[in-house]
């Protein structure tokens, strides 16, 4: 793992509030190389956005307590002074946000905002920066960028706004691009276009991408590796092929089972995960997922007392934080694939063919 462009080691981001300590991120580790895409998946409040904001240094000035290491090309951003992180922000690492309308300043033209992003880090004339902005807008697929550069965000459509955000993020050729739910606020038809665009630009710029989403379909399309987060911790971490082909954590099973899949017969019932995500102030003892887990009876009562470590089981590089043994995981996943949900009356729900998963062909083995 050494020598990766981005390495996050045991990252913890806590917030002190009047109600207690919010453990938004609690010991997250992962690494990412150039040209690769990492998908971070989890429900709202699982700590995925807080993690990405932490990498960007956007918690500076708040009451966040950050420990652990964020190594960007060997430079520890947690220990670096805020001025240095600010220099890297926007130049070496850039971010795209969820809602492009509220993320663009309503009072400045799209062009002015891209020019501003470019000129903070590059000592160029206004004319040169403007030409750069026009080029970028053209590259992200804005028609007639020469005139559109002087438009205000409210004159753009939702998809075009997100394209403009992407152009802004790419203005300084960042090596790391973090996309925080980039398609959540967009029409379904536009979503695919934006994802394609990010994918194309990644191969063009060769940057590393972190794709944050609660939508497994999005990461299935794009990600090489997937990090599943739950209650601020890593539940499962592995290649996209592993996560979709042979997931090892009951939470990932829950996510997959609750997602409609094109490759299954329509009679397959969607299985929701019972309950709600836990409070990050009072995280459940032991495994944070145990109150919602259907498999706690299999581990001999360890789930609510012992925190399961993140360990590899079976495939190298594929780790899950669960007390189930490798054998139990395999059995339970196969049973689930056959349509058997534990704790529910046995009924023949699914006769549909079970394939390898929704991982799109080209990227599964990437």
């Amino acid at each position: 793992m050494a020598g990766s462009m981005l390495e996050v080691r045991d990252l913890r981001i806590h917030f002190q509030t009047d109600d207690g300590t919010v453990r938004a991120v609690d010991g997250v580790s992962f690494s990412l190389d150039r040209g690769r895409t990492l998908g971070i998946v989890g429900e709202s409040g699982s700590g995925k956005s807080v993690t990405s904001m932490g990498i960007m240094g956007l918690h500076h000035g708040t009451n966040a307590e950050i420990t652990g290491e964020i190594l960007l090309d060997g430079e520890n951003l947690v220990a670096a002074n805020p001025g240095r992180v600010r220099e890297l922000r926007g130049s070496k690492m850039a971010m795209i946000f969820q809602d492009p309308l509220s993320s663009l300043h309503p009072y400045y033209t799209v062009g002015a905002q891209i020019i501003e992003a470019y000129r903070v880090h590059n000592d160029v004339s206004k004319q040169a920066a403007r030409q750069h902005a026009i080029d970028l807008l053209g590259r992200v697929g804005i028609p007639t960028p020469k005139t559109r550069v002087d438009d205000y965000p409210h004159q753009f459509s939702g998809g075009m706004r997100q394209r403009a955000m992407i152009a802004m993020a790419l203005s300084c050729d960042p090596e790391l691009l973090i996309a925080d739910e980039p398609t959540t606020a967009l029409d379904v038809t536009v979503q695919a276009q934006i994802l394609d665009l990010i994918n194309d630009l990644q191969s063009e710029f060769g940057s590393a991408v972190i794709m944050i989403t609660h939508d497994l379909g999005v990461v299935a399309e794009l990600a090489d590796d997937i990090l599943v987060m739950y209650a601020g911790r890593v539940a499962e971490y592995g290649s996209a092929a592993d996560i979709f082909g042979r997931p090892d954590h009951p939470y990932t099973w829950g996510l997959l089972a609750s997602m409609p899949r094109m490759d299954r017969a329509r009679i397959t019932r969607l299985v929701p995960i019972p309950g709600t995500p836990p409070s990050l102030i009072k995280v459940p003892s032991g495994c944070p997922f145990h109150p919602r887990c259907r498999y706690t009876h299999l581990t001999g009562g360890r789930c609510d007392t012992e925190v399961p470590p993140l360990r590899e089981a079976g495939t190298p590089g594929h780790a899950a934080a669960c007390h189930l043994t490798a054998e139990q995981r395999r059995q339970q996943w196969d049973a689930l694939q056959a349509g058997k949900v534990p704790g529910e009356a046995e009924e023949p729900v699914s006769q549909g063919p079970v394939s390898q998963g929704p991982v799109s062909q080209g990227r599964a083995e990437a």
């Binding site: 956007l58 600010r86 922000r89 509220s102 992003a117 903070v120």
Partner: protein, 335 residues
Amino acid sequence: MIFFIIRRLVLAVFLLILVSMITFAIFFLVPRLAGQTAYQLAAQYVGRSPTPSEILAVEHKLGLNDPLYLQYGRYLKGIVAGIHYNNGTDVSYCPFPCFGYSFRNQQPVWPQLISDAPVTLSLALGAAVLWLIGGVSIGVLSALRRGSFFDRFSMGVALAGVSLPVFFTGLVSLELFSYKWSIFPNVHYVSITSNPLLWARNLVLPWITLAFLYAALYARLTRAGMLETMGEDYIRTARAKGLPERKVVIKHGLRAALTPIVTIFGLDLGLLLGGAILTESTFSMPGLGQFTILAIQNQDLPEILGVVMIASFFIVIANVIVDILYAVVDPRVRY
């Protein structure tokens, strides 16, 4: 943008005509409807203890027996072209622009307004600069250091500022700085053309007094606006670009928070230009506010009518400027 401005200006002209109609109706139609005769009405347009013949002369001069539309037409004509008040023996000329003729002072109202306006203008503009700079910067700092000692202290002072009336703060400052410590002795208005230094020195206390009231209000407004905008997504975007925090605050945060401030600033200033009655009275400054008070005390109706017209003119103009500024500040408004 040009069409937007033209439309606003045309609207403003209509608004002014409407204002003149309403003011005219208040002063000439309402008393008649309430049963006053032309003679009784005329009695209010002359000196304190007039003789019946004087009243009759005024009744003729003003044409108070004529139909109302004629009177209104004459009033408008006076404003745009000037007018002769003539009953044969006694001719008084009220030149353009004639905003009425004061029979108490035996002179047209307009020159008096013109001579008093610079006083109010000096007071209002100077105070406006102070309260805008002071209020906005205190508001921004308070918002950025929310909950700090500075925030709580300045918001406490601001609460005092909006609560204390001008005649209290003004008198206290006069007592302390003028009489007791003689820092600004003998405060009285001196015109800027005769002695700019003395003009400024004597205006310091009135400026601060008036600005204190408004700065308090603006500090609270700015603080609330900044707290809101600094939590917006586009602020996060600005930070994610790697902008220095100062630029994030001023160029992205304050710019957005300033829009409602601009609106209310225009209206406040427009209102003040019609006369800062309390401040002018407290510091005995011969401005439009003093003029209004005197006119009301003397029941000099033409003067009151004139000053109402001027004040409403300022407010309408301020509104137009605010509308145009708004479109400049917020591009989404340019329809």
